[in-house]
Every structure is written in C-alpha cells, then in structure tokens.
C-alpha cells in the first residue's frame, strides 16, 4: 500500500513538482510571516523584557511604553515603604529626535536607565563600556542602525533634542519595531536631554526581594500609591506588544499574510491531489473491484498527501531557516522559535492531509462497475 502511494506520487514528476512548489511556497511564506510577527513582537518589547525588572510603575492609563507622562520621584519613596521591595530605579523610555552629524533629523527611542542598578541597561555591548555612559551627554547605540543614525565610530557627536550627545559604545541585535532606533544613556543624561525636572521621572522599575510574588507585590504597591499604575513584567510587555502589533494593525497584516500563505498551500495541495486522484480514478476503481475497502484507498491518498507535506515542509522550512539566519544581519529580524518550527510542521501535515479530504470524498463515490467501461 505504502509503495503504491509512493510510486504513484513519484510517477508523475511534473505534478509532484507542482505540489511541492505549492507546499514549499506556502511553508516559506507562512513561516517567514510568522517569523516576522515574532521578530516584531520581540522588537517592541525586548528592551522591557530584558530589563530584569519585576514591576513597572507608570503614569495612569498609558497605552504603551512610549506613552509615559512625567510624575514625581516621590513615588519612589512611597514604594520603598514596602519591605518586600529590593530596589527601585527611575527610568526614561520615550521617542525623541536625533540630529545626525550631517544635520538631518531622525527619530530615536531614548532609554535612560539607572547606571548603578542597571535595570533597562543594554545587553550585547560590542564596543565601549557601560560605565562610559556616566560621562555627561554619553549615549550608546545599536550598530545595526549606524547608517540610519549617521554614526560610524565611537567618539562622534550628534544632537538629541538640541543637546550635544556623544556616542561612547555600540550594542548588537537590539532592534526597534518602529522606525526609531534605540539609544541608551544614563537616567541623568536622559533627564537632561528631555529637560525633565530634577525630581521627575517617566517610570519606576521595581526589583522584588527574592521569593516575593510579583503579583502580590503589585497589589501592595498599587494600594500604597495614587495617580500611577503598577504592572508586572508580563502585563507590561504584553501591553506593549498588543499596542504595536494589534493597536496599530501592523501585526494583523503579517498574520493575514501568514494565513494567506497557508491558504494558498491548502488550495494548491488540494487541487493537485484532487487532479492526481481523478487521473488515477481508473486505478482506484480497479482496486475497489479487486476488493480494496474505501479505507484502503483513503490510506493510499492520505499517504501521498502526507509524503508531499513531509518533503514540502523539509524544503520550505530549510529555506525559511536560511532566510531567518540572513535576516539576523539586518534590522528586520525573522525569528523562528522552536515552537513555531514544530507547530508549522504539524500545520503543514494537517493542511496536506486535510486537502486530500476532497479526493477521499471522490474515491468513496467511485462505482467499481466503471472498471469495465471502455
């Protein structure tokens, strides 16, 4: 039975090629779109996710992390009243403008963090040292955006919101979802760039004592303070992701493309398997006359669909993984986590087997008496 399925599948090379191209296309398209989705999602929230903070305190009713409104640092002392708090630091996270050495303006995302504590600090520093950010006006940028920011080496100076700034280091792989690259600096420097009052901050980030449940600490802090909202890391990152991915519609677009990719796959596979079934209808009728059960014929068809899916997936996923690897060199990362790779495998197989249902329906209706017809 398996050999019949296999041989029939490989007998018609052209049809097999069409089927496989369809599946490969579908796998590549949907995995790259989903990889983009994951990449975008990470880009929106990596800085938050890797900040090592347990809780965020923000002004009331922000819609996303770049939406903070200044509030008094007195809140910091109010929060410190809780004995379960290990540490609290001030943080700035906001869009602003950057004037390149050549005078052109571009948008950036300025991240000002507490150098002593380090929550929200850049990771993967490839050039320079984090302590260098202690210098007034010092900033660190992501090397993927060197061109965009008009900077090629350490020591170059630019302007941020009209203030002089000096590049003291580079990071590697900290992407931005928007067109504004991340720029890291000390909280103090950021305060200056924004002209924020000495006693004001945009956010407070909280590290809980070991063993303290962030959820319960959140409730406690919330009850200690008014005019601010407290978020856990999960809440804060998902607020950020949801805003950028769904609030702006950007994520929906890639998800729709991924879905369309799968749909194309289903249609192509269903179509080629169906036409293969129709072409072999006489053979299926002969099998039926010979005493094969419908179930036996289903197995032949499903095996063919399964094998097509297997080969198509292997080729398609190899291409997608290659593209994903190449993409990590650029500003738009296509990230294919293990779950996605495995999930798409099952989805592809399901799609191919599902697509063969139309054909199964066809062989069920074959009248074995057709075998004697000319």
């Amino acid at each position: 039975m398996a050999s019949l399925a296999l041989k029939n599948l490989f007998h018609d090379k052209i049809r097999l090629t069409v089927t496989l191209v369809g599946i490969v296309f579908s796998v590549v398209l949907s995995s790259i779109q989903l990889g983009l989705f994951v990449g975008f999602q990470r880009a929106t929230s990596d800085i938050l996710y890797f900040s090592n903070a347990d809780l965020w305190i923000a002004s009331k009713n922000v819609t996303h992390a770049e939406d903070g409104v200044p509030f008094s640092e007195r809140k910091l002392y109010q929060a410190l009243a809780s004995p379960r708090v290990e540490r609290i630091e001030k943080q700035i996270f906001q869009f602003t403008t950057w004037k390149k050495p050549d005078g052109a303006d571009t948008g950036v995302l300025l991240v000002g963090f507490d150098l002593a504590g380090g929550m929200g600090a850049p990771w993967n520093i490839t050039e320079g040292r984090i302590e260098d950010l202690n210098q007034p006006d010092a900033v660190m940028i992501e090397e993927l955006y060197k061109d965009k920011l008009g900077v090629s080496r350490i020591g170059e100076t630019v302007e941020i919101r009209g203030h002089r700034a000096k590049v003291v280091g580079f990071t590697r792989g900290i992407r931005s979802f928007t067109t504004s690259p991340p720029v890291f600096t000390s909280f103090k420097n950021a305060q200056n760039f924004f002209g924020l009052r000495e006693d004001q901050t945009l956010f407070l980030v909280v590290k809980a004592k070991p063993g303290v449940d962030p959820e319960s600490l959140k409730s406690e802090l919330q009850s200690l303070m008014t005019d601010v909202d407290v978020y856990t890391r999960a809440e804060w990152t998902s607020k950020q992701r949801n805003y950028w991915m769904f609030g702006t519609g950007a994520g929906i677009t890639v998800l729709i493309a991924a879905f369309l990719g799968l749909l194309v796959g289903v249609v192509v596979v269903a179509q080629t398997i169906y036409s293969a079934t129709v072409d072999h209808i006489r053979e299926y009728g002969t099998l039926k006359a010979m005493g094969a059960s419908n179930f036996y014929l289903y197995r032949v068809i499903v095996t063919q669909a399964f094998l097509s899916g297997l080969i198509g997936y292997a080729v398609g996923m190899s291409v997608a993984l290659l593209v994903s690897r190449i993409s990590l060199e650029g500003t738009t990362a296509i990230i294919l986590p293990k779950e996605l790779v495995v999930g798409l495998f099952f989805l592809t197989i399901l799609m191919c087997v599902g697509a063969s249902v139309v054909s199964i329906n066809k062989v069920t209706r074959i009248d074995p008496a057709m075998v004697f017809k000319g």
Binding site: S3, T286, L287, A289, M290, G291, S293, P368, F372, G374
Partner: protein, 255 residues
C-alpha cells in the same frame, strides 16, 4: 443430489433483472437472466453490443447492484448485500480481467501483482515470492521488473491475469480480454484461461465478441437484448470435460 449440485455451481443466476435509470429514460439491460457457471468450466458470454454482457458480469462480480432476481456466488446470495459485504465477497472469490488491462502504470509487473497480494493479506518476502511465481506461471518470469509501458498488449494482459490470480480466487471474470490483442496474443491469453479452468478447477467467464476464441469454450451463452437466447456446448469443449460435469446440466439447447 441438490447439495452436490450447489457446490459445483460457482455462480448461480436466477431471473436477474437490471434496469438502469427510471421512468422514460430507463434502460432495461437485463430482462430476467438465468445462468449457471460451474467449477472447472470456461464459459463464453457472447452477444451484440449493448445486449447486456458487461452488465451481467458486473453483477456476477459483485460490482454492480441488480434491480431484482438472485445471484449466488459459491452458494451465497449477493443481491441486496451492502458495499462492505460485496467488497469482501470480491476479495475472497473473484479475479477480474479487463479489456484495457487496468494495470498501474507507476508499478512494475511484479509490483502490480503485489498490490493484489497485499489486498489479500500477503506481506514481505512471501508476497514477493508469490508475485514472482504468478508471473512465472503466465510466462513473464523474465519481465518482473518491467513497467506496463514497456510491455506488449499480450504481456500486459498476462500481468493482469497474474494479478487476478493473486490469492487463488475460485472465479475469474473477464470482459473482452482479447479484444485489444492480436490473434497470437489472444490465443496465448485464452490458453492460460483455459488452463486455469481445467487444471485449477476454477470457474472462468469470458465476455467476448471475438469468434476466433470460440473454440476454447466449454459452453457458449448468447445474450440478446437482455435475455439468454442460446446455450451452445461445443463438441470440442465437451471432450475435455470430467464426467461429473455432464450429469449436472442439460445438453446444449436453445432456450
């Protein structure tokens, strides 16, 4: 001795009626056919185009439902059975041979036979051995790995016979097996079918237009517009027959 008669009858058709379609468009393909096919007998079914030959063998082979009447395959009534039961009866009792061979083009001669053996539950080395032996039996021992496209019509039909013989069915039904063949190949095929009837004591029914092969028949049944019009027992065919056969049916006579 009704029991003995029952056993000897491989196929017993009584008052079989088949009407295709309904009302104005109804085609009365069979209008009450009585027919017996005995073990060890090669029976030819002849008649004009559209007389109902294919319809009759299709019902006898359990691949077409009848409108009314009775058809017993080795004693078991098949009219009114469901798809599942008919499938089992075909699997256990019947080998089909077709005018167009109906081989699987993607499979070699051996693999074509193996598909049938697989259906009958043979696997692995035993399946391979049997496929080889069956092809040997039809004189294609040297063509085991040839694809249908590389075989002549006669060779293809012999592969089809080997396939029909998988699992040693007691009944072989062939619709125009020689129509697509030259007379030499046709003779070869009929030799094989005759041998199956004689030596293996199978019931073999061959639908044909081909008067070149009438000599092979133990009995020729003529069908005319859905009715049996003539039953001929050629002398030659009779001479080969074992004694018991003679006692069980009427001397050749028109009905």
């Amino acid at each position: 001795m009704p029991d003995r008669e029952r056993i000897m009858k491989s196929i017993e058709v009584k008052n079989l009626v088949k009407t295709y379609g309904a009302a104005e468009t109804a085609v009365h393909a069979l209008k009450g056919v009585d027919l017996d096919v005995f073990e060890g007998e090669l029976q030819l079914l002849v008649g004009a185009s559209g007389s109902g030959k294919t319809t009759l063998v299709s019902i006898m082979g359990g691949i077409l439902s009848a409108t009314s009447g009775s058809c017993r395959i080795r004693g078991a009534e098949t009219i009114g059975l469901g798809q599942k039961q008919l499938q089992k009866i075909r699997l256990d009792n019947i080998g089909f041979i077709f005018q167009g061979f109906n081989l699987f083009p993607a499979l070699t001669a051996r693999e074509n036979v193996e598909v049938a053996l697989d259906l009958k539950g043979f696997r692995g080395a035993e399946m391979r051995r049997r496929a080889g032996a069956l092809l040997e039996r039809v004189g294609l021992g040297a063509k085991l790995d040839a694809y249908p496209a590389d075989l002549s019509g006669g060779q293809k039909q012999r592969v089809a016979i080997a396939r029909a013989l998988a699992g040693e069915p007691r009944i072989i039904l062939a619709d125009e097996p020689t129509a697509a063949l030259d007379s030499f190949s046709g003779k070869l095929i009929m030799d094989l079918l005759q041998e199956l009837a004689r030596e293996k004591n199978r019931a073999v029914v061959v639908v044909t237009h081909d008067n070149r092969i009438f000599d092979y028949a133990d009995r020729i049944v003529r069908i005319d517009d859905g009715r049996i019009s003539e039953r001929i027992m050629p002398e030659k065919g009779m001479a080969h027959h074992h004694g018991m056969m003679h006692t069980t049916f009427e001397p050749a006579a028109a009905v």
